[in-house]
Amino acid sequence: MDKKNINLNKKPSWKALKIGGVSEGGSAKDFATGDWREERPVIDFKKCKQCFECWGYCPEAAFIVQKQKIVGINYLHCKGCGICAKECPYKAINMVEEKK
């Protein structure tokens, strides 16, 4: 949050907000929660057999699927836990250090 240097004065007054902190449904998808990642998983598509083990194990549902295929990782939400790399039966996912 604070990294983005948000201008608080541009946000709405308390009088304009909905009570109780209620927001629209599914708002978590717009909230980047992966920015404290130390390592990022990178898929080697030459080794990937599309077995979907990573997709099933990922606690953040960060694997992007298009036309029934894994096509990438949503790095806004991936926290770099490394479960996918550990579970991949084909060693197709490598954890790479994040460059800060």
Binding site: I6, V22, S23, G25
Partner: protein, 385 residues
């Protein structure tokens, strides 16, 4: 109109009020001395007298959690508890008020462990005074019953939860004469809840209880404070409407022979009834004494208290709990802050801890000591020195 007069305990009367309100959901766990409220209400459910969904939970933490979930769907929700139950709920009590859910609770004042004691003092509710709940302290059974409707109506207007408290055993288990309002008139008075949002509004899905960080949390808390300020106006308005409809008048404060009083006691709850007798006795002897009972403690009626005590020269605040702060009881601290060390002079008496009875002679002693008040002195009334 034929009046429906009954003899009920406060527990029975509050359960009866809950039957008449007929909320969508009641989630509650029994605890002495509030057990009967839950027991009687669950009997109403079992007998088919209400359509309420009754959730018999495994703890008070779960009770309040279920209340929060139900209230967030837009349902009208009631519960009841006391003492350790209220404390176990505490985490979720804050969530109920923070999410602005107007849950209404019948709360029977009982002290807190340890040492273990099941009797009435205000330790439990005073511990819950700064968590965004409206607090009404009833002084008799009729008031405990009537206040359930007033609290519900006002709470739903300002979207804050409310507790209507009675004194453990003194009111909860004491039979008193009261007038029961016909069911249809209760329903008409309370109307329908109009929720700000509902999790059952499937066309407009909502996120509730999401993370609220440095950029928004403060604003939501600011709204809560404003709601509590508005609650004061709303309670006054609802009390007036109640008086007009049912003939019984309630105010934020009850002033008793205070107009020309030189010495006064400030107290909450049923002790005021005992103190009134002392006031009457002393008045017969020509002593200018009076009484101020704080009926609505949250929102705190600061201006009204200042005005009520304006002409009084010395005031004793009687606290039925100790803040264990070294500077007296919680009500004393608040009155002291409200008066800002202006006139009248104040002193504090802690009394009745663990349900110890207060005697007429002890209250008389307080009035007598007010003649030569030791300012800001904290005394312990009825303790063995």
């Amino acid at each position: 109109m034929n009046k429906n007069i009954k003899a009920l305990t406060a527990n029975e009367a509050q359960a009866e009020a809950m039957r008449q309100i007929e909320p969508d959901v009641v989630a509650a766990y029994p605890i002495t001395p509030a057990t009967q409220v839950v027991e009687i209400f669950s009997q109403f459910v079992a007998d088919g007298k209400v359509k309420t969904e009754f959730v018999p939970v495994e703890s008070e933490h779960s009770a309040m959690s279920a209340c929060v979930g139900a209230s967030a769907t837009g349902a009208r929700v009631l519960t009841a508890t006391s003492s350790q139950g209220l404390v176990l709920m505490q985490e979720i009590l804050n969530i109920a008020s923070g999410l602005r859910l107007p849950i209404v609770m019948a709360e029977v004042n009982r002290t807190l462990s340890a040492p273990l004691n099941i009797h009435g003092d205000h330790s439990d509710t005073m511990g819950a005074r700064d968590i965004g709940w409206i607090q009404i302290f009833a002084a008799d059974v009729q008031e405990a019953y009537d206040s359930m409707f007033i609290a519900l109506k006002a709470a739903e207007k300002v979207n804050l939860p409310a507790m209507v408290t009675t004194d453990g055993f003194i009111l909860s288990h004491c039979l008193e004469r009261l007038e029961i309002i016909p069911d249809t008139r209760v329903k008409k008075f309370i109307g329908q809840r109009k929720p700000e949002f509902s999790l059952f509004d499937f066309k407009n899905p909502k996120t509730l209880g999401s993370i609220d960080l440095q950029d928004y949390f403060f604003e939501h808390k600011r709204q809560q404070t404003e709601a509590m300020k508005n609650a004061k106006k709303e309670i006054v308005k609802t009390q007036k409407e109640f008086a007009k409809t049912f003939g019984r008048k309630y105010e934020l404060l009850e002033e008793y022979k205070l107009k020309d009083a030189q010495r006064a006691i400030v107290v909450l709850g049923s002790t005021a009834q005992t103190a009134k007798e002392v006031v009457d006795n002393l008045r017969k002897k020509g002593e200018k004494v009076g009484l101020l009972r704080i009926r609505v403690f949250r929102p705190f009626p600061e201006e009204e208290i200042r005005k009520a005590l304006e002409g009084v020269s010395s005031v004793a605040v009687l606290d039925k709990s100790d803040a264990v702060s070294g500077i007296g009881g919680p009500v004393f601290s608040e009155i002291k802050a409200a008066l800002r060390n202006e006139k009248p002079k104040l002193s504090n008496y802690i009394f009745g801890l663990g349900g110890r009875n207060i005697k007429l002679s002890e209250i008389e002693k307080v009035y007598s000591e007010l003649k030569s008040i030791k300012e800001n002195q904290v005394s312990y009334l009825g303790v063995r020195e």
